[in-house]
Assembly symmetry: C2
């Protein structure tokens, strides 16, 4: 049995786990990140967390095979650094992998949190046993991950899975640096809430779930909006399907809380937008793992060292 | 040195090559397909072609490592059969791989012609040395192929690369079984010709190249049409880039004959539609190989047997 260390480095909390190759976790240390103190401070905290794990199951830190880190934002996986770090100021190009590798004499890998969550789902969750998985999370934003034969395809500059920027509506809504009509600007939780407030009223919509609930209750305007959003997510999935033809989609994120309102319609819409020969063959599965950030990070060295 | 047999099985001609692992070809047999005589007839012809190759470079057929077949249409790569065979009637589900494998006691692989051409370009042509290549051909239709670490990612049912069906224009033109506004219906050679005839006149446009030539000569309507088509191809490439973040695109097909009119604008449009962190990092390369169908087919066993 091989053992890995997974680190879920977020803007608020940082968490370190000792995990075996089946994803079973044995020991955990968790703290607040205190990102305001800068990357050297946070890096020292991570080193203490690693040293603080209980290694009795594997007979010591020297028997660990590798370390993985999941971070919020795009990563240069070749050089092992973050490219943008909106929620971890100072971490752009900070050599976190090099520092941990030098300290512990272990291979260290880093990737963004959506990729890491997708890897965990593909290896241990809904995608277990399937060769090509595409993980899609529809939450505050929209992100994703491509996993082929148990290995994360992060892309040339770590941007594989940055599917939130895929255009689903020509000349659509412009949100931040995204394309006008990008799916994240049209069909993320944030976008559904925005559209819902505009069309149904500020007081009626606090979050995306309200739109689907009102549609289910018979509100015609809400139904129109739900249809539009479901169609846009279906276009996203169809685009991805034609590009990589995955054995399954794994769909997660906060919007899935409303899945009983939209799931059947999404499957139907998706199948109507793909080639005849693909229809019915690509299941849209729900995520199975909870809190898979640190476990997924631990799977990074397993995926990369094969 | 390893040797492979590649078969380019088209609706008109069938061609068999003996190739080494560097893509160098040593012997070739070519005939008309005579598809009207059915798959058993064509299969016998292929067997004779294989037996007719000159194996002196490798000391005999028994020293060949594997056989690959490229065919027009989607393939079930798991079961080694064609799913649809518009140009090879009767080849749907015909066990061509099994028949050749039994006859020659060699592993036999099959994939569609765009995938096979993309594999050749990725391994031996424009993508040589690049980990993730996405091949895109804009010709009569639009097709593509994803190659990761030298291996073709054909997808769960062989539909990876069926990018012609990706929607680039909401409620756009409906062509055959494709999505309304699919890129093949909007920006393939066929589509550019159709739009050109409509907007510029039947007599002025015989093929897509005329539209780009007229735009270059200052025709304002042709310029508007060229802008539209370039933007649509850029949306296609941006969609793919966000999905897999390739180290390069390899662009081929007949429309590339007009590349001097549109290439710079395509690169600019593409970069304007992708995430800031990706801009300038994904080259759009031109195909380098000529007539790569049979060579690409020979690369199939090399790709799959690793």
């Amino acid at each position: 049995m091989k053992y890995y260390i997974g680190i879920d480095l977020g803007g608020t909390n940082v968490r370190t786990l000792l995990v075996d190759e089946n994803g079973k976790s044995y020991s955990e240390v968790r703290d607040i990140t205190e990102r305001e103190n800068g990357p050297d401070y946070v890096c020292s905290k991570i080193i203490r967390q690693i040293e603080g794990l209980d290694y009795s199951v594997c007979g010591g830190l020297s028997n660990v095979t590798g370390i993985g880190i999941g971070v919020p934002g795009p990563v240069d996986t070749v050089n092992g650094v973050m490219i943008m770090a909106t929620n971890l100021p100072g971490f752009e190009n900070y050599p976190i992998c090099e520092k941990l590798s030098n300290r512990f004499n272990l291979p260290v890998f880093i990737d963004n949190d959506a990729n890491v969550a997708g890897l965990a789902e593909a290896l241990l969750g809904a995608g277990k046993g399937k060769s090509i998985c595409y993980y899609v999370t529809v939450s505050t934003g929209i992100g994703g991950a491509l996993i082929v034969n148990g290995q994360l395809v992060s892309g040339g500059r770590g941007h594989a899975g940055e599917i939130g920027n895929i255009i689903v509506k020509n000349n659509g809504y412009k949100h931040g640096a995204l394309n006008p009509g990008a799916v994240e600007a049209e069909a993320s939780g944030t976008a559904i809430t925005r559209k819902g407030k505009e069309i149904l009223g500020e007081d009626k919509v606090a979050h995306a779930g309200d739109v689907f609930r009102l549609a289910d209750e018979g509100d015609v305007k809400a139904q129109g909006l739900a249809d539009e959003v479901i169609s846009e997510i279906a276009i996203l999935l169809a685009n991805i399907a034609h590009t990589v033809d995955p054995h399954c989609f794994i769909l997660g994120g906060g919007v899935m809380k409303s899945k009983r309102y939209f799931y059947d319609q999404l499957v139907e819409q998706f199948n109507s937008k793909i080639h005849v020969g693909m229809r019915g063959y690509i299941p849209i599965l729900e995520t199975e793992l909870e809190d898979c950030g640190a476990i997924g990070a631990a799977m990074l060295p397993m995926s990369r060292l094969r």
